[in-house]
Structures are given as C-alpha cells and as structure tokens.
C-alpha cells in the first residue's frame, strides 16, 4: 500500500512527459526519490530472479533473444526497452508495468544494463544471473581505457547470486572463472558460450574483441555450454550441451550467431531442467530484429535495410556480414559519434561505392573512403535531403537499399520515413 502515492505520481509524470514527447527517465527518478525501497521490493517478486546483460555490443539483441526464449518456455518476462539501459530508464520501465500497490506479475527480469552503472544497479536489483557478451573498444571518450570497461563487467559478475555466463573467446571475460575460483567463491557458477575456432579463424576480422595487454592468454582450453558451429544468411547452427539446434537469426552475421549462443547458454542455466532446446529454437523463428539491427523497413515501394553501428566492432562485423557489396548505399554519421578516429581501423572492402553520405561527420567519413579509393556519389550533410536523393535513385534489383547509420541518425531516419511514432520497443 505504501507505494500507491509514488506510483501514481510517477505515472502522472510519465503521462505528462510522453504528451510532450520524450523524457522517459524522469518518472523513474521521481519514484526513486519518493520511495527508495520501491525497486528492491518489486524485483524481489521475480521467482527466477534478475538477469543482467552486459557487453560492449549486442546487449539489445541478446536481451531480446533471451526474453523470447524464456517466453517460449511459458515464463512471463519483464524487460527494458532496447537501449533504455541507464538506471532511471530501468526504473521508468518497471513503473509502467507495476500495479498501483507495487505488485508486478512477472517470473523473471531480463535487463540490458550500461556497463558504467552495472555495479551500482546490482546493489538495488540483486541480479541472480549475469551474462557478459564481449569487451570491445567502445566509447573511449567516455570510458578512457577498454580495460576499465572489462573491470566494470567482471566486478559486477562477481556479485551474481547464482550464475555467470561469459564469453570463452574474449580475452578479458574468459578470465572470470579463474578470478572467481581464486577468490574461493562457490557461487556464482560460471558457464561459457563461444564460437567454433574454425569459424573465428575464417572470419575476415575475427571477433573484433579488444586485445588484453595486462594478462597472458589462458592456455587451458575452456569448454562452452553453447557453441556457434556455423551461420549463413538464414540462421545459425548452435550446439548446446550435446545437442544441435538450428535457429533462425533475426539479423545476419557471425556476431548475431554468437549472441544467440549466449542467449541459449543463459536460458539453459536459468531454467535448469526446464530448459527445452526445441522450445528455444522455435522461439527464434518468430523473433523480429532489434531496432536498426538488420531491420527491413518500407520506403515507398522499396525496402530499406538498416545497418546500425556504434563503434568499430559493430561497423566491421556488420560490414563483414553483408553477403555482397550493397547495390545502393547511404551512410549517415553525425556528432552522436564524437571520436571517429577508429574509422581508419575499418576495412571497407565490403563496399564498392557509397551513393549518398550524410550527417555532420559525412566529410570525415568521405575523407576516410577517399584514402581507400572508394567512390562516393553525393555528400549531403542534411539527412532529409539525403533521403530524398536515395528515393530518387532507380529501384535496386535486390529490392532494398542499404543504410549504414549511427544510432542518432538511425532514430532520425526512421522518423523521416514514417517510423518515428513507435515507442522504442520490440
């Protein structure tokens, strides 16, 4: 009963901020202030506890996959909308789901969490399971050094009360087993996922995980509960325990296959004997892509495929996943990506041209491509005009145009072509 007032106030603020368009974090902030115990009390109701999904790349996609796999097993899942991974966004998401008395009907919470806030949030949310995806060079202007990010994840993993699921093929995250056993911890248990070594060796740029300059690589082989064996344009073959499963991937690429292996390993640990691989693979068949990750949207009589990037790893792995040089390409990048030094670490061999380059950093991107001799049709910094230039091109034989976009330009582009009213969710 003590939460009725804060919840009602929070909801009123939520309605008001929505009406003005935006401001999703404020209501959560207000409820936290009015009733500090609110969140702790709500999450204590989850029978299967709370799962944190951490990583430089793939958080939204994997959170989505894991959510659908657990729903496929009949669980009611509470999850945060794609990208709403800061503390106030998570509070706001909880607020929209609870009854006025603070009751929340869900069996489990699956939350993607920003690395920088993971440890702090773990104090309130007491996660039972922590899934760590990868450590890749990301937002150095914010994190300074990549090993700082690794430690944020590793330190959070140590507080899980039941399970840690980690990436066998990551130079930092593969150390978690050693780290926890050195501490003499009995809980959490540690399980790994990974990709078959041959698959990594055959990938043009490997996995693009960050180099670890502070520790020697482990020599002892690490077993993976879930291992990606192969992938193609339709799906992935993943071995879980002794069993093989073919799953449909919501977006194509080696990294999405690894995300699927991570989701399956986590589901297997969380569900224990209730885990059913057939139910899990069935859940993948009906999954929609996460926002901007291989999504196909209507654009007049054509389709647009969004390929979103946030950093070097996501751009390289998404380029590598393209089956061939795309026929019609727009690249959009603005000041939402502050430091673009890493563009010079990218191999652009997958592009044979770019039709339109747009956004405030279009010139810097064009300068990079000129160093590789990749021709650029038009540079039009204004996104709206750039989209009109793309519209004016003849229909591509593949039926779709490819837009390679940073997060901020993706959100704007979606709005411009008529997908802006949707709430950020799946």
């Amino acid at each position: 009963m003590r939460y009725i007032a804060p919840v009602l106030v929070g909801r009123a603020v939520r309605a008001a901020t929505r009406a003005r368009g935006g401001g999703s974090a404020l209501p959560g902030y207000i409820v936290n202030k009015m009733a500090p115990g609110f969140i702790k009390n709500v999450v204590a109701q989850f029978e299967y506890g709370i799962v944190f999904v951490l990583g430089s790349n793939g958080k939204s996609t994997t959170t989505h996959m894991l959510t659908e796999v657990l729903r496929g097993h009949g669980l009611t899942v509470f999850t945060n909308p794609s990208g709403a991974n800061l503390p106030q966004g998570i509070s706001s998401a909880l607020l929209s789901e609870v009854g006025v008395t603070g009751k929340l009907k869900a069996d489990i919470g699956i939350l993607e969490v920003d690395e920088a806030f993971a440890l702090e949030l773990s104090k309130t949310l007491l996660p039972s399971t922590i899934l760590m995806l990868n450590v890749q060079v990301d937002q150095l202007y914010r994190f300074f050094e990549t090993e700082v990010v690794a430690d944020m994840m590793l330190d959070t993993a140590a507080v899980a009360t039941q399970h840690v699921i980690s990436n066998r093929d990551d130079a930092y995250l593969s150390k978690i087993g050693e780290i926890l056993s050195k501490k003499g911890s009995v809980v959490p248990d540690v399980t790994y996922f990974g990709a078959a070594p041959k698959l990594v060796a055959d990938s043009a740029h490997g996995l693009f995980n960050a180099a670890n300059h502070r520790e020697e690589a482990s020599t002892a082989p690490i077993d993976a509960l879930a291992e990606l064996e192969s992938w193609d344009s339709t799906g992935a073959r993943i071995r879980v325990g002794g069993e093989l499963a073919d799953v449909v991937l919501p977006a194509k690429g080696l990294h999405y296959g690894i995300d699927a292996a991570a989701a399956l390993a986590t589901a297997a640990q969380v569900l224990g004997t209730e885990f059913d691989l057939a139910k899990a693979s069935a859940a993948f068949s009906s999954m929609t892509p996460a926002y901007g990750r291989g999504e196909l949207l209507d654009f007049g009589n054509e389709k647009v495929e969004f390929v979103m990037f946030k950093n070097a790893a996501s751009l390289q792995l998404n380029l590598d996943a393209l089956p061939a040089a795309p026929e019609q390409v727009m690249v959009a990048i603005d000041e939402g990506t502050p430091d673009v030094s890493w563009l010079y670490d990218i191999d652009f061999a997958q592009l044979d041209h770019v039709d339109v380059l747009t956004g405030a950093k279009a010139w810097q991107f064009a300068l990079r491509l000129e160093h590789e001799g990749i021709p650029v049709g038009t540079i039009e910094p204004d996104l709206k005009k750039a989209i009109e230039l793309m519209r004016a091109l003849p229909a591509p034989t593949t039926g779709h145009k490819t837009w390679v976009v940073n997060y901020e330009q993706m959100m704007l582009a979606r709005k411009i072509i008529g997908y802006g009213d949707m709430e950020v969710s799946f």
């Binding site: 920088a116 060079v137 150095l140 202007y141 914010r142 300074f144 050094e145 990549t146 090993e147 180099a211 300059h213 502070r214 000041e335 502050p338 430091d339 673009v340 030094s341 890493w342 563009l343 010079y344 670490d345 405030a360 950093k361 010139w363 810097q364 064009a366 300068l367 990079r368 000129e370 160093h371 540079i379 910094p381």
Partner: protein
C-alpha cells in the same frame, strides 16, 4: 620486405598491436596515400615486441594506447632506445601521438606517482591523472590551423626553450595553452582524429623532412586535390562544431 628504388620511402610503425588505440593507423594511411599519389613507392615496416628494429627508415610513426600497453612495450622500447635516438640524431622525422609520444619524451609520471623514464627524443615530460579533456581541438601552428579530436588525462610540460607544435585556440592540448612539442623535424602531439588525414599540411611537413634527407623533391599535385578538398570540408565542420559537448558520464 623492402624494395628500395631511389624513390621508395620506408615508414617504420612502432608497436602497432599496442599503440594504435586511437586510430593512429590512419596517420600511416595518410602518409602512404600522399606519398603514393606523388609517385613514390612506400614500404610500411612494423616493429613489434621481440623483433629486430628495421634499419634506415625514412619516417618513424608511433601512436596512443592504454597504460597496460605502455607497460607491455616498455622493456622492448628501452632495448631499442639508443637505436631510436640515433635515428632522431640523424634527422629522421618522428611523428608521435599520445602515449607513444610520451614514451619518446623525457618520462611519464603515472597517476599513482610511478615514473617511467622515456627515450628522450622529445623535450617534454608527461603527467597523468589530470582532469580529462575530451572533444574537438583547434591549434594554430607553423603549418597553419591544425584540427582534431583530443581525449586524454595527461599534462605535457615542455623543457625550457622547447617549442610546442602550436597554440591552442579551442580545447585543452598540453594543459597550458599550448599543444604538442617539436624537435627538429619531429612532431609529438596529443591530437587524434586521426590528425594527419585531417591536416594535410602537417603530413606534407613530415614527408618533406623525410625526403629532403635523401635529396628527393616532393610536391602535392592534382592527385591530392580530392584528399585536400575533403580534409578542408571536414575541418570546416570541426571548427563550426568545436563546442560540441560530449557526454562523459
């Protein structure tokens, strides 16, 4: 590895696996592209830990990296310190960024107070652990306006009489109104972006210094026009957006 015709130019890239964390590979890319478009053949030779330092490079390039990478390369660098100093004494231009530049300077005082002695090619010492400076930077230098992106928590204190690369008009630079330091034809800077693709005049200064030692002429031509045009446009936008505030939460 090297096919040395009279006009072949050799670029020595120091510790690319460790010290190119901020896209410094792009500085090599820029030097290579401008040399090739001027008709020169280019050999890029990489030096990694445990290998023998290649002989007679025309240009030496080093970049930025985390403290763990600095520690990882340190012993190897010290073994090669004398050889590198000899190259600098012979007038081979060095182009050094961030942590790599600091290793080639007088020394680095780390945030915990530990001091790492440097190679002593550049007349400055670095102090880590000062407030971080992140964002676009604009510097007025002898080669004109230099622009780029800075992201460091390092203060550079120049030795008495040492000459900075330039004067900061926007951003933090060395932490005292100046940016970088020069030593003969060698340049050390904290500016990323990467800096050379964005600043063709700086690339050309490095290339000229290298080729003059071999009595080879260098002049940008029509083949450089598109690189220069796109760099100029990029620079315009950077100067216009120089006050962009970046989240550092």
């Amino acid at each position: 590895m090297s096919s040395s015709s009279a006009h072949s130019v050799s670029i020595l890239e120091l510790y690319p696996e460790h010290l190119e964390a901020s896209g410094e590979r792009g500085n090599v890319t820029a030097l290579r592209a401008r040399l090739e478009r001027a008709g020169h053949q280019v050999d890029v030779v990489q030096h990694t830990i445990g290998r023998r330092l290649p002989k007679d490079p025309d240009i030496v390039v080093i970049g930025n990296g985390p403290v763990s990478a600095v520690r990882a390369v340190y012993a190897d660098l010290m073994e090669n310190a004398q050889a590198l100093r000899s190259l600098a004494d012979d007038g081979v231009p060095f182009f050094a960024v961030g942590a790599g530049a600091e290793l080639l300077g007088g020394g680095i005082t780390l945030a915990d107070g530990t001091v790492l002695a440097g190679v002593g090619i550049f007349p400055f010492s670095a102090r880590r652990g000062v407030p971080r400076q992140v964002g676009y930077i604009v510097v007025e230098s002898a080669q004109g306006t230099v622009v780029g992106f800075e992201d460091n928590a390092s203060e550079w204190n120049l030795d008495s009489g040492a000459v900075p690369l330039g004067v900061v008009t926007s951003g933090g630079g060395n932490g005292n109104g100046r940016e970088g330091v020069i030593a003969g034809s060698s340049i050390a800077t904290q500016t990323k972006g990467p800096i050379l693709p964005l600043n063709p005049s700086l690339s050309d200064a490095v290339i000229r210094a290298a080729l003059e030692r071999r009595d080879v002429a260098y002049a940008p031509s029509a083949a450089h026009a598109e690189l220069d045009r796109l760099a100029a446009k990029s620079r315009e936008v950077i100067v216009a957006n120089v006050k962009s505030v970046f989240t550092t939460i």
